[in-house]
């Protein structure tokens, strides 16, 4: 249980090898992608004018995609615009090029089993027509629902595309990594259980920063006792941001996804349908559903909650949508706050460390190296339920709870921090009309 180092060396973002790896997953021309990526770097470095960048590859773009949708001078060469990329990815805009037209049955195909004089195979065509009609109907209703669903939600500032509900980060074609794929940057944590004193500061800080509804605890501190011990031990359990996350794999909408930039496992709040399959599939029990209107249960998240891709991923989720620890994804995109998280900042014991686990110089790796040195190279570490193959990205320093471990009351009470531990006690729905009638006589 000491496998905190990955075998494969970290790739460098921006290198050709990295670009090849990323582009290999695309159905488009790797060569063209590489050339454009190199030229884009030249533009950034000031070695190429924006005009030249735009002119170059124009023909190849048209040939490959039928449209050159790179930002033009007219757009002011804005940075990659989520609105534009979403619009491009929407099926309506793709047109017939991306949707293969089904082969049309011949008008008279009596030759397949009917003899001369046998009537044309009208029934089969009628059936095919009906199926086609149903498909068109489904698409129509899908569009209608999509418009209705997004109409009810206030448009977010600066991201009209998301408010339009043009789809997921996945549909936008960028910013999403498949489960199981090793990424050049993989955020994770090192949690030193030998330092943790179970004070619950991390839980409260998370609740404050994310404006969580009453009883929603994203990090959760389990106090337990081993048979041979006198003192309690603690396990800080939060989302493990697994590389091979079961929740991502089972999600029927792509709402639960891994962010390409840093491997964080996030939920697109605009897309999640609240089926709770992620909650059922997660072996750690890290998901917390929004069973009702957050405002009714003290949810106070005020921010926009959208990351740089325009995807709504942060804060207390809206009603009917799944939430969980996010590793503060907006912070990780902010150069000044990258490598911090509310829980990490709050921990007075310095037990929590967040950063890129692939970077030997990141805070968690430096901390791990230092603790190893202190321990003379004999530092016990583990990843939670590692045997399940989920490749969790939290490395714990200490011993995992044994099968004989027993849960005990910790030294600190959630109520002392104004937190509710038993969420079921507050999950009380309103009284139905018939009970009210019965009560009132």
């Amino acid at each position: 249980m000491t496998s905190e180092h990955r075998d494969d060396p970290p790739n460098l973002v921006g290198s050709d090898a990295w670009a090849r790896e990323v582009l290999a997953d695309s159905e488009h021309d790797t060569g063209l992608g590489l050339a454009v990526a190199r030229d884009a770097q030249r533009v950034v470095a000031g070695e190429m004018t924006e005009e030249e960048f735009r002119r170059r590859h124009h023909g190849a773009y048209l040939e490959a995609f039928g449209v050159d949708a790179r930002p033009s001078l007219d757009d002011g060469l804005a940075p990659p615009d989520p609105e534009r990329s979403r619009a491009e990815a929407s099926p309506a805009d793709r047109g017939p090029r991306d949707i293969a037209e089904p082969p049309r049955p011949q008008d008279t195909d009596a030759g397949d089993d009917g003899g001369p004089g046998e009537p044309a195979t009208v029934p089969r065509r009628a059936v095919l027509g009906a199926v086609g009609g149903a498909a068109i109907g489904a698409l129509f209703f899908g569009e209608m629902f999509r418009r209705n669903a997004s109409a009810g939600e206030p448009p977010a500032q600066g991201d009209a595309a998301s408010a339009r509900g043009d789809g997921t980060a996945r549909a936008a074609g960028g910013g999403v990594a498949p489960p199981g794929k090793q990424l050049p940057v993989q955020f994770g944590m090192v949690i030193d259980l030998e330092r943790c004193d179970g004070c619950l500061d991390c839980v409260q800080a998370c609740s404050d920063e994310n404006g969580l509804s009453e009883g929603v605890l994203w990090p959760y501190v389990l106090s337990y006792q081993e048979p041979q011990d006198v003192d309690p031990r603690f396990l800080v359990r939060m989302c493990q941001h697994c590389t091979k996350a079961p929740c991502v794999m089972v999600c029927p909408t792509g709402a639960r996804h891994r962010r390409l930039a840093d491997g964080l496992v996030l939920t697109d709040y605009d897309v999640c349908i609240g089926c709770r399959y992620c909650q059922v599939a997660c072996p750690y029990g890290a998901n917390v559903f929004q069973w009702s209107h957050p405002a009714v249960y003290g949810g106070s998240f005020q921010g926009d909650g959208r990351d740089s891709r325009g995807v709504k991923v942060a804060g207390d989720p809206p009603m009917g949508v799944m939430g969980k620890c996010t590793f503060c994804p907006i912070r990780q995109e902010d150069p000044e706050r990258r490598g911090t998280a509310s829980c990490v900042d709050a921990c007075a014991m310095g037990a929590l460390h967040i950063g890129d686990l692939n970077d030997p110089e990141s805070a968690p790796n430096r901390y791990l190296a230092q603790r190893r040195e202190e321990a003379g190279g004999n530092l016990p570490t583990f990843r939670l339920l590692e045997g399940l193959g989920t490749e969790p990205n939290i490395i714990y320093i200490g011993q995992p709870p044994s099968a004989q471990a027993e849960l005990i009351d910790g030294p600190f009470d959630y109520e002392d921090w104004d937190l509710t531990e038993d969420r079921r006690a507050v999950l009380e729905g309103p009284e139905p009309w018939f009970r009210r009638l019965a009560r009132e006589g």
Binding site: G114, V127, T168, G285, W291
Partner: protein, 442 residues
């Protein structure tokens, strides 16, 4: 709509048989109206419960989170979903048995069974939607992302196979219905003429042989789809492929789900056939042999299910890995589980007795016993979902094993789904002949 050559008025002649088949299509009786009213009330009750849930969220259920409190995120809705998909198998299994294996005994109930499949699948789809926190997004979130999600999500597979099953069944039913509608033209209620014209779009007198061939292939497709990709495959895989619930794991789940589905499905066909025979005095069309045959198959699948449960319990509680043993021990310690198994055992025993003493056959008793698996499987499937979630691998938190009983809103969904089934048949019985002409004549 395609223009249709109106079929000649009276091809069938006025045989007594045709008149018997057409008996339900006349003016509705007071009993029909009363049943309609009861079903409408049931549906209305469910509708207000669902509106209540849509307004306040899934908080009105007794579902909750797991991980630091002992809640169950999936419960009665998912159990009922499995149950309805299972019932939906009944139709096509009976109908395909007639068409593919020449089991003509069941021919009179083939169409009733096909209609049961359609309504059962509709209810299964309904349960998926009721279960969601954001049902308004079901199309906009699932469809555009299907090319990606289909690669790894069992729930995406599930949506696809249920849709496919529905389309295939509806096509199959339409193909077999066209022949009858054509032959009975002029004797069918005028009020539904536009519907008949739609169903008969492009009909040619010579199409029957081809429609038969298409129906045969569709039946084959459906009967292959069920064990491999529906109740013997995708539905149990929704559970058995997950890493954290040992109670759901195991290769026995596929066969076990399928056996349960077929036992409950054939029970549902038996019940429907019995009710329709009584109401429309169809004793000569649906004779006792149908019920004898159906009850044997119900008994066989109930026996199979019991045998597979035995496998699960014996292997799981002896020397299995600790997490599996815990999960199986929990199942064994649940009294309701044994109630469900006892109901199935009664069905099996009844079939045995009936085979030993065939002269003591009673249709009423046979039907009552065939209905037992229906109830038993709903109980067992809900327990399967709930107990799987109560005993996860990661059990070091407050509240293991947790607790759950369905709320009034959740239970109202059963009233709603049963009302939908009743309404569906009330309408169907007035619109289309429920017994195939050709089958009845032969």
């Amino acid at each position: 709509m395609a223009t249709t050559q109106r079929p000649s008025v009276d091809e069938t002649g006025d045989s007594a048989l045709t008149a018997t088949i057409l008996r339900p299509l006349g003016r509705p009786s007071w009993r029909w109206m009363a049943t309609l009213a009861a079903a409408a009330v049931g549906l209305a009750w469910f509708a207000q419960a669902w509106v209540f849930q849509l307004r306040y969220g899934l908080i009105v259920t007794n579902l909750a989170d797991w991980g630091y409190v002992g809640g169950i995120p999936w419960g009665f809705y998912v159990g009922s979903f499995i149950w309805w998909v299972g019932i939906a198998h009944g139709g096509i299994i009976v109908s395909a048995a007639v068409r593919l294996f020449g089991m003509d005994t069941f021919a009179p109930v083939a169409r009733i069974a096909e209609l049961l499949t359609l309504a059962g699948l509709a209810n299964a789809g309904l349960y998926i939607v009721i279960h969601l926190g954001r049902p308004d997004r079901v199309v906009s979130s699932i469809l555009p992302n299907l090319p990606q999600t289909i690669q790894t999500s069992p729930l995406a597979w599930d949506v696809v196979v249920i849709t496919l099953y529905f389309v295939l069944t509806a096509t199959y039913l339409t193909l077999t219905l066209r022949h009858d509608l054509h032959r009975l033209a002029g004797r069918l209620p005028r009020a539904f003429t536009p519907l008949y014209r739609l169903l008969l779009a492009g009909h040619r007198p010579g199409e029957q042989a081809k429609a038969e061939r298409m129906a045969w292939w569709l039946a084959l497709g459906l009967i292959v789809l069920a064990p491999f990709f529906l109740h013997g495959g995708v539905i149990p895989w929704l559970f058995a492929l997950l890493p954290g619930q040992p109670g759901w794991f195991g290769p026995v789940q596929g066969p076990q789900f399928l056996a349960a589905a077929l036992a409950s499905a054939l029970g549902a066909v038996t019940l429907l056939a019995y009710v329709l025979r009584r109401v429309y005095r169809w004793e000569e069309l649906i004779d006792d042999r149908v019920f004898r045959g159906l009850s044997r198959w119900v008994g066989l699948f109930a026996l199979l299910f019991l045998w597979l449960q035995l496998q699960k319990v014996v292997t799981g509680s002896a020397m299995a890995p600790l997490s599996i043993e815990t999960a199986v021990d929990a199942v064994v310690a649940t009294p309701l589980y044994w109630v469900a198994l006892a109901m199935l055992a009664v069905t099996v025993a009844h079939v045995g007795v009936q085979m030993l003493a065939p002269q003591r056959f009673s249709v009423g008793r046979t039907v009552a016993v065939a209905v037992l698996p229906l109830v038993a499987i709903l109980i067992e499937k809900t327990l399967f979902v709930v107990e799987g979630l109560m005993y996860p691998v990661f059990d070091l938190y407050e509240g293991v094993p947790g607790s759950y009983t369905p709320s009034w809103v959740e239970l109202s969904s059963l009233v709603g789904a049963l009302s939908i089934m009743v309404l569906f048949f009330l309408v169907a019985v007035k619109v289309v002949p429920l017994i195939e002409l050709k089958e009845a004549e032969s």
